[in-house]
Symmetry: C2
Subunit: 234 residues, 2 copies
DNA sequence: GTTAAAATGCTACTTAGGTAGCACTAAGCA
DNA sequence: TGCTTAGTGCTACCTAAGTAGCATTTTAAC
């Protein structure tokens, strides 16, 4: 990143707060940032990835993006990762250098740092101490995949819906963080179902007094009842 | 590993052939092996893991093991990973140092190398060059999880069954490698279904002339037809 | 070889979840 | 302001997949 860049200091500040990079000293941080350029992607921008992930590596500064797979035959989407501030992509291509076919779409206006993949790989080689924080991050991604996988196989849809909500609920406000403004369609994409079915179960949650939704605004009325939905299946 | 150990040379030889470690020179390889001890686990041994994965790290020398999750309520199992020669576990705990609850069961008599987790972590820190092969290995695990996840969400069971078979078919002999002797129950556990359903679709595959099974021995008669099952859903 | 246990191949039945369709409502925009 | 579009809440229906049960066959153990 050119040091005369308008967003240099802003990016540096955010990078220093990123759990993956926060242990680095100023000079190391600047050596990292020097390879990156600042990008802005508008809300609802779609990127049909594939070869591209091979060449570019991204750090999310702000906004949300989804990485998803599509089944053209059925016309269904499945959101594999919901990326937010401090997330990196694509770590799989970063690690093995192979193509990783994924669709990407911004949910908000997004700010990103972008660098050539080989440059990021080279920087890591020169700064192996980053593995102290990078490997736990990769592990957290793997855990998300694994949890998601076993849930999809072993749990029914109301359970998956309840788990999704629990994993995003704010203990204080009892509101959903990050997914509060998503449509039922997007929620369905996250748990591997369809809008109609998600809506069906949301109505049933409402009737049980678990939550109250009006227009993309969810209030968890009874967190305990929601937790029960996960343990006792009915 | 004690250098007087009966299995020392045998283990060293296998380790040297493992794609993850094969680029190491003799001395480095021996420094690795010195931390490990040789173990034998009998067929059908079950390990209820959890805290244990925190403290021990394993390399598979021979035999197959499955890592799986259980839903006690439904009494269903789901096989997350089928581990074989050259596989490592648990890489997630290795990377983030957190507990990883998984059930493990040997499918064959198995030989393993076992070391304290902290020792393995320490060895990696001292030999960062291992990341050249270790990170691609981790990435391959992630890809398995991700593929499995999207398949489970977007594909129906005959498709998942066909994909499973395709991923294990030997192009030469048209027989299944590694999963050929598994029961329908175990196959079901791998694709997130149940024995009865898997059997139903196997019978339908037979009728279509795709394959021939008699008693845990599968012959793919028409590989092309099997591939079609994956692309054209019916 | 005999016997018990495991695996397989079925039939019949139940049900969760997907689909289609439509009315209604809120949000966004000219 | 009205108009368009996206999102929501329903009903009715369909279907794949799960369940139960059982007879048969194979394998492994004794």
């Amino acid at each position: 990143m050119d040091s005369k860049d308008l967003h240099y200091n802003y990016s540096l500040e955010l990078l220093a707060k990123n759990p993956i990079f926060k242990n680095l000293d100023e000079a190391t941080l600047e050596s990292l940032l020097s390879g990156f350029s600042y990008k802005k992607w508008e809300k609802n921008t779609e990127f049909f990835h594939g070869d591209q992930t091979l060449y570019k590596f991204y750090i999310v500064l702000s906004g949300r993006l989804k990485m998803y797979q599509v089944d053209v035959e059925q016309g269904r989407e499945f959101t594999v990762f919901l990326l937010k501030q401090n997330d990196l992509f694509d770590v799989i291509s970063l690690m093995d250098g192979h193509k990783h076919s994924m669709n990407i779409e911004t949910i908000d206006d997004c700010e990103l740092l972008c660098a050539p993949m080989h440059l990021m790989r080279h920087w890591i080689e020169e700064h192996p101490e980053i593995n102290k924080t990078l490997l736990p991050y990769v592990a957290s991604r793997m855990r998300i995949l694994e949890t998601n996988l076993t849930d999809n196989v072993l749990s029914d849809i109301p359970t998956r819906l309840a788990k999704l909500m629990l994993s995003y609920v704010d203990e204080q406000s009892h509101k959903l963080k990050l997914i509060n403004d998503l449509s039922h369609d997007e929620i369905a994409n996250m748990i591997g179902s369809t809008r109609a079915v998600v809506n069906r179960h949301i109505q049933s949650f409402k009737k049980s007094g678990i939550l109250d939704i009006h227009r993309k605004n969810t209030d968890i009325l009874d967190l305990h009842l929601l937790e029960e939905r996960v343990t006792d299946r009915r």
